[in-house]
Symmetry: C2
Subunit: 172 residues, 2 copies
């Protein structure tokens, strides 16, 4: 398939919307409204006892304290997904990890959004001294017992975090 | 938290973008760019031998044949998620199901999109006579062997379908 036309109809700070026309191999033409957003990363940080989750407000879905894995957008120029994951792990839960493993790359909403998500396991965790969470993010850190992963999966209603928690359970 | 301002900045056929301002319990104010899209359903249809998947083009992520569970948008006025799932199952894979179970409700992209996804198990499958797939959808039906769910999970890179396949594996 081939994109034969594209027109930007909205250009905001986080979301760009394009009306696109695609020609398929069968000759047919499809019109699509596409939301371009930054690609992102999700991190599964765990030690012998716990997987580290966060609770944070998610205004778009009117949730006050959604249970999620640490995650963030690739919004720094030239940053790789791994560098972004390392930065976000410090920012969100105040920890560094010595060992990183890329587990999966997937699409959260391929029907309308361009976003690609890279999922990392992070182990060898160590606290970053003097770390202060960003008050603007309103993030609460949750050390969830590793022997109750099923409880986290049951409570979690965030797709990327569900994929990460299931993948962690398979990995262990 | 409370939404204290909202301005529609783009109104397209599938995506509406709003610039919103939210006041949190701590008194702080957050600006958010929110993409409003229809809520949706994902269906896990299976029988003794197979789970029924589809491959279809997903232009936003430039994938020619993404492996997914059957799914669809709540874009018919007054339709419930279950009714939508029943309609989409016929449209996408030409089958009815006698038994439906709601498994989970989750958010594909809560950082920027309003979409809520309801996941259903569908069993007691029966072919619908004379069903013709919509050529515009370019959907290929895949009967994936139930004893190789791990293979489907490994190949799948669509978040909602990963959640559905993992949930099916837990259910079996």
């Amino acid at each position: 398939m081939e994109r034969i036309a594209s027109k930007t109809v909205h250009e905001g700070p986080r979301v760009v919307v394009r009306h696109e026309r695609w020609r398929h191999g069968d000759g047919g033409v499809a019109e699509r409204e596409v939301a371009e957003v930054d690609d992102a990363v999700t991190i599964v940080p765990y030690d012998d006892d716990a997987v580290y989750l966060v609770r944070q407000p998610r205004e778009p879905v009117r949730e006050e304290r959604l249970l999620e894995l640490p995650a963030g957008k690739l919004d720094v120029d030239g940053e790789t997904p791994l560098e972004c994951a390392q930065r976000e792990l410090v920012e969100e839960i105040g920890r560094r990890a010595s060992d990183w493993e890329e587990l999966k790359r997937f699409y959260p909403a391929p029907g309308f959004a361009t976003e690609a998500m890279t999922l990392f396991l992070a182990t060898g965790l160590e606290r970053v001294e003097g770390h202060e969470p960003d008050p603007e993010e309103r993030i609460e850190i949750v050390a969830w017992p590793l022997d109750d992963l099923d409880g986290a999966i049951a409570e979690c209603v965030d797709a990327k975090s569900l994929v990460g928690l299931y993948a962690l359970r398979d990995h262990l």
